[in-house]
Symmetry: C2
Subunit: 416 residues, 2 copies
Amino acid sequence: MPEFLHLISPADALEIILDALPQSWAAGIEVVSTSEAHGRVLAERVTAPHPLPPFPRSTVDGYAVQAKDTFGASGALPAYLRLIGEILMGKTPTIEVRPGEAAQVHTGGTIPDGADAVVMLEDTQLIDNSEIEVHRAAGVGQNILLEGEDVQQGDIVLEPGTILRPQEIGGVMALGMTSISVAVSPRVGILSSGDEVVPPEMDPGPAQVRDINSHTLSALIDRLGGNPILRGIVPDQHDALFEAVKQSHHEDDLIIITAGSSVSARDITGDIIQSLGKPGVLVHGISIKPGKPTILAVADDIPLIGLPGNPVSALVVGALILAPLIRRFLGVRRVLPIPQVPAKLSVNVVSQAGREDFLPVRLQKSEEGTIAEPVFGRSNLIFTLIRADGLVHIPSNATGLSAGTEVMVTLFSSEL
Amino acid sequence: MPEFLHLISPADALEIILDALPQSWAAGIEVVSTSEAHGRVLAERVTAPHPLPPFPRSTVDGYAVQAKDTFGASGALPAYLRLIGEILMGKTPTIEVRPGEAAQVHTGGTIPDGADAVVMLEDTQLIDNSEIEVHRAAGVGQNILLEGEDVQQGDIVLEPGTILRPQEIGGVMALGMTSISVAVSPRVGILSSGDEVVPPEMDPGPAQVRDINSHTLSALIDRLGGNPILRGIVPDQHDALFEAVKQSHHEDDLIIITAGSSVSARDITGDIIQSLGKPGVLVHGISIKPGKPTILAVADDIPLIGLPGNPVSALVVGALILAPLIRRFLGVRRVLPIPQVPAKLSVNVVSQAGREDFLPVRLQKSEEGTIAEPVFGRSNLIFTLIRADGLVHIPSNATGLSAGTEVMVTLFSSEL
């Protein structure tokens, strides 16, 4: 417990690094085809060049009429109207509805001049080709979508910072905008250091292991809307690592260093981060498990995250720190609560007060609902993590959770 | 109420169409670079070619020792061990630890022959370059990650049908697999019919509107793991639409038709779907709102969805029917519960018994937590939908929900 009391909470750590970044740390703008813009962040204000719908439309199949001609109409006492023609889809109506008249109209069809209501087909009876009976009164405006009812010409329909979902893509297309300005994804440089680490395509020697974290992180950054730049594996030597970090500092918008795991490697990494630029290291250790030895720094307006070398930590720090940083860069305006799955904890788990724990769990269906079963295993075992579906957050004021507690599970597939 | 009682529930509708599909309706396999496989569905069984970790590793910085040499050691009565050298990262140890000896080892470093425990640096004192004090006993295996502790050689580590998250990408890379077999995304043909509909790049004439649904659907299909094939806007004429649907039937794995909105257009669409192949139309209307007039069919082993022409329906049917169909095609093995956001409903809403309602809501922060505010507006208004963050499901046995009810909101950004 004492060691964690000196550490900073993840919320405070995030605030410290966000506050140290200048306004200029923000995405550039690029124009992309709207059909390719799904999931991107809008970088312009969208104003409607014309109303939507662009003309009054029927919302039902029926007859366009003057409402007053139907007043008092019922099955017993129908109103009789003269049928003057049909409104064809996609064609400007050439007929006008006058008192005592009706024009056939289809769902989505244009309301002809003179008409102010549509009576539904079900409420009418065709007598012959020139007359209908109306069995129910229609009020003014009934079954009509007014011109501009969705959007008026000149309305601001989307603000910069909006994440483009399928409906925004459809809406922008409806306004005829086939290309659109979006925020350029941040280049996130990923450096792995470690004398024992080799790339996945190499056969590791007897005391070597393949790089896992660069690739886990790369996929995570991709999901968070960043552009991962794999800067390779650097030996645990000051000069080599410094050169690699400097290059990333010149070319990327954000730097992640997965430190070598030895004390000297961590010291080298800390020194390099500190000497890279001002203000340097801001946070050295966060009160979370896993992820405690995380370093947060800003060097001459570029943020830098030093991550412990295990994959669970990478995913936890990714969700708590990296995701909000990327959102800030992209200018995301509105952040929704993270959706979660309620579940019952299968066993007692202990936790340490003063520390926020993130417990990997696997979800199981049972007759009493969803069960969250902790996946025990050291945080440096990647396949242990693969058995987990998500994480349960144990707040810092708790000393554990009892079996049967209702917990909220954040799925790896949604936000982590 | 009566009309919905004749309709089929969304769960039954899904089961009917899934049951009508043959086993052969399934994705082919393609080999992709593992680094590009994020979010894809694994199509092979992955077996570990070697153990992970491939050799016993230290989990701490300290000294590799024989545990029995430390038994009974304490600060008051330390054990004295001869320091025989340092295990370098990435190098095969050339030293062996014998009784009374210790070798310096870093986190992740190889455990040398002879050693069966690691004492942490904090529990030792360096006397000189050739001797250390140990202040705490270490048990056999302590602070050691055994060879194969994560994965044994020959273990099945991933089964086909697994969705590849960042951790699976990292895990597969750790085993040296830089390419991997994944399910080929289904080609989902999207046809829009309607005499009044023009493509977004065209200036609509006086009674014309731009196509919204193809593009909303296309982005949705992309998110669900499908490959949207835009087959354009087809006039509401039997022959033209039949030809277009037949081509999609030849070339695509799944067909979506957004019907023209007039009665005759819907009739034409229904006829074409029915005549395309066996068994034909299976479901004609689902007890949901919006989305009721949905048609589900299977024509000679190709599933077909006829969608009503409004965007909210498209998103609801997309989540309830299209997403599970695509998962079935891809062979997804394990489906987790949809994560949601708990919120309090801001106002009373009415609903119809016998029908499952999906109410678009916007989330607002308040002092009492998250508030779900219904976004009222007709379901054919795209910008109304854009104001919504997600949907609240009102079950078919409810006649409404009171203000203040705790509801679960499915965000459009996560599953819809």
